[in-house]
Symmetry: D2
Subunit: 377 residues, 4 copies
């Protein structure tokens, strides 16, 4: 089959590789119908990870069940399914408590597995024609047959649940106010989730006009940090008050607006300032323990300078970590089916699998029209 293969920094290729096979009775093979490119794929693409050439990318995968292992109970050939980016067993101590992003089984020696990602276990990605799905009864969510909502459903693999996760980490409840840093796909999905959950005020901080326009279109309040300190802008809108909750949808590649250089703790620091005492910070944005490309020695080891004294004084609580997609994907799917959520407003375009190298390049260069690409085999 054809697959998108990592060749080295800034290089991916469409290559012929062996078809995946059933390796275990609980496996299924899925014929991919849609596979999205994720911002986190760029970490590998840019060579800022330990990813080795040969890796097949793709962790936002959906398709049609093609072949079913002998131990699979609930899936059948022809079922339309979407897979959480997490690979998880369903029965370890973490999975049974719902922490499927921290499965202890699928990636021995580490808590958590994923498709097509460096250090996340031996699971080739789905930017390809076919995908092997382990523990398939657990790892494939059934969808209504047909082709309806294809661009919405594919976002259930990662980006919609991950944005939602930000709002869940802060236990956002109706009538609260929230500040979300970052209006990329995760931030936009966090804002969208906050609105679905009944937030009273949703402030979204970014500096890219297209992104700010999109969150404005869904009913959030855009804050352009290139126009001034976002903390002050929000306070000014609120008569001096801060907000109940905050989400960091940016992560470690945050940019200091004053210096226009990477400053990994700048978003965390802003959140500590803008969230009111007793509030919560949700951090779905990625931070890593080692980052060879970081701007300083501490950041290279994932160490950040944080105003912990202020955080304590305000009695803040914070939650971090990759999203346990299975906590949410079933319910978010039902919102899509009911017509109450249409997350595909963030999809920029569909691209043939064969054109993926071009799409990666444009996405990496932030070229307009390539902000959230769905690959179509």
């Amino acid at each position: 089959m054809r697959a998108i293969v990592y060749k080295g920094p800034f290089q991916v290729a469409v290559e012929q590789v062996s078809d995946p096979k059933i390796q275990h009775p609980n496996d299924v093979i899925v014929r991919i119908t849609s596979s999205a490119i994720c911002g986190s794929d760029l970490h590998m693409y840019e060579g800022r990870t330990a990813a080795q050439p040969g890796l097949i990318f793709g962790h936002e995968n959906m398709g049609i069940v093609e072949e079913v292992g002998s131990g699979v109970t609930t899936l059948h050939k022809g079922d339309r399914v979407v897979m959480p980016f997490n690979v998880a067993c369903g029965f370890c101590e973490n999975c049974e408590r719902g922490f499927t992003a921290f499965c202890l089984t699928v990636n021995p020696g580490f808590a958590g597995g994923a498709y097509g990602y460096v250090a996340m276990g031996p699971y080739p990605g789905g930017q390809a024609e076919l995908l092997r799905v382990p523990y398939a009864d657990f790892n494939a969510l059934k969808l209504p047959p047909g082709t309806e909502h294809e661009e919405d459903f594919v976002l259930l693999a990662d980006i919609f649940p991950t944005g939602y996760h930000g709002t869940e980490l802060v236990q956002l409840s109706p009538g609260e106010s929230i500040a979300i840093f970052g209006a990329g796909p995760v931030g936009a999905m966090a804002a969208y989730s906050a609105l679905i959950r009944g937030a009273a005020e949703v402030y979204v901080v970014d500096r890219v006009p297209e992104r700010l326009q999109k969150v404005k279109d869904i009913g959030a309040t855009p804050i352009d940090f290139s126009k001034g300190d976002p903390v002050q802008q929000i306070r000014d809108m609120r008569g001096g008050d801060g907000v109940d909750k905050g989400v960091d949808a940016v992560g470690y590649q945050a940019v200091d607006p004053n210096k226009n250089t990477e400053q990994p703790s700048v978003v965390l620091e802003s959140l500590i300032q803008i969230v009111n005492a007793t509030g919560m910070l949700g951090i779905p944005g990625l931070y890593v323990p080692t980052d060879p490309g970081a701007p300083d020695p501490n950041s290279k080891q994932g160490k950040l300078l944080i105003s912990f004294g202020k955080l304590f004084e305000k009695g803040l609580r914070l939650g971090t970590g990759q999203c346990d997609v299975k906590r949410y994907n079933r319910f978010l799917r039902d919102l899509i089916i009911a017509g109450k959520a249409k997350p595909s407003f963030i999809v920029s375009n569909e691209v043939l699998l064969n054109d993926a190298p071009m799409a990666y390049e444009k996405f990496d260069k932030r070229i307009e029209g390539y902000t959230k690409v769905i690959l179509k085999p």
Copy 2:
């Protein structure tokens, strides 16, 4: 009346001051029967705060109601009461949600008030003969009449709830394992609370033999960090595994065991290492936004270098802040009455109010037998 008055660094005096008066219809005046010296009083005593001479110390107060304001509903002269260290109104946005440590009313411009503490509002402390208690229906917890359990009940003002708060911030549930850093009064109370809540394994890290012995006596596992890396010691006891939850009962004056100097983030860093992925960190130990005596410029501003990348990778959550005493004091009181909790095992001795200057000096010098002193007017 007599009161303990701050005179300057390392100086307190017993002085005659004016008796407190009813200033508001919801006030009561309490005749103090017991008032404990708290570790946090030493921050002021040592001159490491902005406290001005003249301040009356004391936020761990209990006694007998002596006089009742015209608006007070449930208290009467002669009632035996213990006061949370927090002064709170009971009706602001934070109080009504239970966040009484962050009251927006009693200390304008800041979230939270307390008796006898710098920057916590105009509330003289209770290391004195009499104490004015504002919003007394809300701020005084009734106790059974008599003198029984006096040394247990006085700990309901701060140290027992604060230790308990550490276990609540991590949502400790029965059968879980927990590591607690610090075996001083707060750490010992956190360990005691963890055992009351049904923890399976409670590890407590300190280096003072008397403290380690006390936590061993109640059924916890002492870890002497002067004997080697506490993280490794705990892992060794657990076949390599970490723990479900962790509590920092030390705060910003943490000591680096290798260098024997203050290193404010050393406990946080150990917690990030020892708590398992998906776990939680509870931080009742005090961190401050400004600390003139800190070892380096960042710490002086309350900024700590934290392994945030690792924290994120493990999906850890953390909670901070001073204890909302009222969330817990009623239930902890009932445990004392039922004979199921006897926190006074940490009380070292009782001292006459007149001898308080001596007690402060010995406590500050960590002289044995003065680890938790109750002042008796």
Copy 3:
């Protein structure tokens, strides 16, 4: 001042009564600008309670602070406020845990107090020109000055929070399905709240066309129980499946659709059938321990025959009781201010206080156009 006074079954009168006075330092006097008639007022109006002539009705009250007691901290003359129907102290064991509908202070011998209601304490109602508000810092919610949103804000006294309470008792989360029995004001507000909270499917059961139309207009699915078993109708729409959660917004005066007579357990029985195993039932609809007008001896004592075996087999959980308005009113107010909630769609009309007797009569007879009346002094 003028007030609406209960004179006997089916009789209320506009009478001159003494102005309320400040009786306690924590009181305020409010000049009423709007006071709604509640369905529960009809229980008294119809003579089905022990209410005695002379009672001033009205527990859905808003207005302007006119006079302030000497112990009041946060309110000032001229403040615009809305009062929860519950009178509560703010400092008893129940209030401090947020259960303000079950205050142990304000109505000795009973858990809970209210304005203008039989057996709910000595608090005259607000269908009048003036209202005394006890513990006013706790019991009055501040609103933006002016007259905007008047018809929305008055619903914060009872009906909007009470409907919301139904969705909170079942811990409704985004993407879930819910069946709500009753499309009167409480049921409509429960449906509206469910939609605000992000429910995927909201089914609302009633038989009054106007009510069904209103819930349809806001995006819920109306189910006309006069057209057939509502449980079957919902299952048919869901391919045989039930729903995640259910709300009873009807209470003890439920009508058996087959016999068209009162049958107090008919809604509970339907909920037990339609809610899926592991689901929850929220019951804001009123049930009473004694009902002289009930159809049978057991119902007269508030005893209902319930399919408890089936309830257990499905592992259902249920929550009951009057709404703790203060848990929600601040957040619901902020949704109104932000333009994200406009509950006044259920208000049928405004009526001068002097015309209240006519309004009561028409409301009691279910005459169209008098479904939710706001009285204007």
Copy 4:
């Protein structure tokens, strides 16, 4: 192999039956070392269910893994394991949310499966030499090797978690008071769990002296309902007050103390009286939708007359249903290993499998010394 086979009312026999085989890649075969007789086995034994002759009894099973299916990941021959009484898939909508007692996969058409129980699916029981365990990675909990704690660990299959479930359904927190009706194995385990969780006061109601003695021995307060109304007895001990929480560990075969006949709602009615307003009722005691042996026509259909008006007035919440054993068994196991729980105090004796018919007869007749029997193959 030998197994205990149901032959008809009041008859079980030790018979030779075929050995179980691996039927699915996720199965394991366990060689039973201990299998307890449960009170719920007596419902079948007494002929009060639709159980057909030929059924192999036994749902409280532990043993050693003997054979492993090709799809099993974490279990190996020789592993010592205990199985929850629930059979569950681990991946359906209910299992993934932790509701393993309501699995939608293993018993089509019904929510929930179990070993050796009528209507709970095609899963022979474990009162035998061997047991087939489906979805074994999910359904077998690993234990330390050896034979230590055998009588404690076997109780992890049902009775310890089920008692604990009662305290979890009411969200029992430290310092609260609780009344538990029933001091049989489930009630005793509920009381034991309440004490482990830090309850301040635990009242346990029964009339069998041995049972009352056992709960007294562990630190609970026994209430003998043959000596007078248990509600009044508890109130008398508490100065008139009720309790925060209540557990029904009796179920539908409750006995009216005044008449000494079955009265299925008598315990529920007592709980509604004794639990304070705002409290919670946890109901692990079994109620069934059809009971041919019930004392009246309504009870035969599982319909009970309940003081719902009073329940509502007090704002009570209640939770029901069989225990999701997997929610708790891992943590309760760790308490046993740590020496902090020793539930085997309720085990009366061990009996050879061959003597099971005698043990059933004596247990059914409530003969002393046969209150909780462990069968040993």
